[in-house]
């Protein structure tokens, strides 16, 4: 029910609407409850026709790097790392 899917913003339209690419399908969605601005090219998370977040790609990269390091570092360092995840 709380399923939300990432989509790429293709075009900003009137009335806080946007055209997005959702896994190869084009759809019109609402930006009405999005906190902040979405730009063409951004990835947004869509839930029941509304964008609810812009996906923070830098944060995603950082998280991935931490997941990776979690498995390889010694106990103490990993503890520190996962503490800030």
């Amino acid at each position: 029910m709380c399923l939300a899917v990432p989509a790429k913003v293709l075009e900003l339209r009137d009335n806080q609407m946007a055209l997005v690419d959702l896994n190869g399908t084009q759809r019109e969605i609402s930006l009405m409850v999005l906190d902040g601005e979405a730009a063409v090219g951004d990835f947004v998370l869509i839930h029941v026709g509304y964008a609810i977040e812009v996906i923070d790609e830098e944060e995603a990269e950082r998280t991935l790097k931490m997941f990776e390091e979690l498995g390889t570092l010694d106990e103490e360092d990993a503890g520190e790392l996962s503490a800030i995840l």
């Binding site: 029941v48 509304y50 991935l64 979690l70 498995g71 390889t72």
Partner: protein, 363 residues
């Protein structure tokens, strides 16, 4: 999007699984409060790679499943009201009320429309000015902004024939109710990712602070769930319950203030009836007086008799985490996804459906 697929690479999972096996915790029960997590945990096979002392259990995280028979009967009665088109998300259609489901009502010729979004429900209202469009709104915090946005748009557009029947609920009062009952041992919680995107990760701080239970907010990819599980075991091992957010690419500490602000503008808290729990105070969303014109409960005088649940169905206990689906004697026999007796078998996110589809292959 490579950044999404990166969270699914199995080569990245192995080191985290190894670490999980090294954690020295003793027997632990980890509960999730999200139907999306229930499905993701089964589908990814995570349960099969956990150490035997780590048990993954599901809480009341499926909004379809926790909807009471009384509320379902209200939707059925609304759909049968002359002039009404009842619009709702597809998840609701097959759920049996005390006598029939919305699907059966639709088959009798009543107007029940499946919508993907409240935007579609508004479009129905504009296309059918001579009909009353009632949106039957279920869902948790994630889904509530879409309902709030619909009411605000209906007001802005001057739509007179659109209203909402809200049975929307909040996860945190549900979680508190479950923990306060003390029926089930919960050592750690995987926090719902998309609910938290709306209300913020900080909303879950009460778990470590009041209950001494560590919580890790997680996304829905295999790596997210493994990393969250590892973070929980680390906190248990260190005896330092805290809040960790492994889904920071989406979830901010304060959440989506615009979306949650819209919900608070349109709705207020009221008691709600949860399957398996009964009435939980301040756990439901009702339209505020200011938006009474868009409230189906005020527009239509719908009264339904108290609705018993199917005597053999143990959905309520499954939702409270005290019974597993195979503990129910009708599971997989009289109750299957094709012929469900309770909502936990209907919803794709229900524990019974997840067990039915995945567990039989995995164990």
């Amino acid at each position: 999007m490579s950044i999404i697929s990166s969270f699914r690479e199995s080569s990245r999972a192995k080191p985290i699984i190894d670490r999980i096996h090294q954690r020295d915790t003793g027997p632990v029960s980890i509960m999730e409060f999200c139907g999306g997590h229930t499905v993701a945990i089964f589908r990814s096979g995570i349960r099969t790679v956990m150490p035997v002392h780590v048990q993954m259990i599901s809480g009341p995280g499926c909004p379809v499943c926790v909807t009471s028979n009384g509320d379902l009967d209200r939707a059925v009665a609304l759909a049968k009201t002359p002039g009404v088109i009842l619009a709702t998300y597809g998840d609701m259609l097959k759920v049996p009320g005390s006598e029939e489901s919305l699907m059966q009502v639709k088959a009798q010729g009543y107007a029940v429309e499946i919508v993907y979004s409240t935007l579609d429900a508004l479009a129905l209202a504009e296309a059918h000015p001579d009909r009353e469009i009632v949106f039957f709104a279920i869902g948790f915090e994630t889904t509530s902004p879409a309902a709030a946005a619909a009411v605000l748009q209906a007001r802005d557009r001057g739509l007179q024939n659109f209203s909402i029947c809200s049975v929307m609920k909040l996860t945190i009062p549900g979680a508190r109710a479950l923990l306060s009952m003390g029926e089930v041992k919960v050592d750690a919680v995987i926090g719902p990712g998309h609910v938290s995107s709306i209300i913020g990760s900080d909303a879950w701080r009460f778990l470590p602070e009041e209950y001494g239970i560590p919580v890790a907010i997680s996304g829905f990819e295999t790596l997210d769930l493994l990393a969250a599980t590892d973070a929980l075991l680390r906190m248990i091992e260190a005896k330092q319950p805290d809040l960790v957010n492994t889904y920071s690419r989406i979830v901010k500490p304060g959440g989506n203030r615009k979306a949650w602000g819209a919900v608070q503008q349109v709705f207020e808290l009221r008691a709600a009836s949860w399957r398996g729990f009964g009435e939980i105070p301040e756990s439901g969303l009702a339209l505020r007086e200011e938006f009474a014109a868009y409230d189906a409960d005020r527009r239509f005088d719908i009264r339904v008799a108290p609705a018993p649940e199917h005597p053999a169905c143990r959905c309520g206990e499954v939702l409270r985490g005290v019974a597993l689906p195979p503990d129910c004697k009708v599971f997989g026999t009289a109750c299957t996804p094709e012929h469900p007796l309770g909502p936990c078998m209907v919803s794709s996110e229900g524990s019974c459906a997840a067990y039915y589809h995945y567990q039989r292959q995995q164990r």
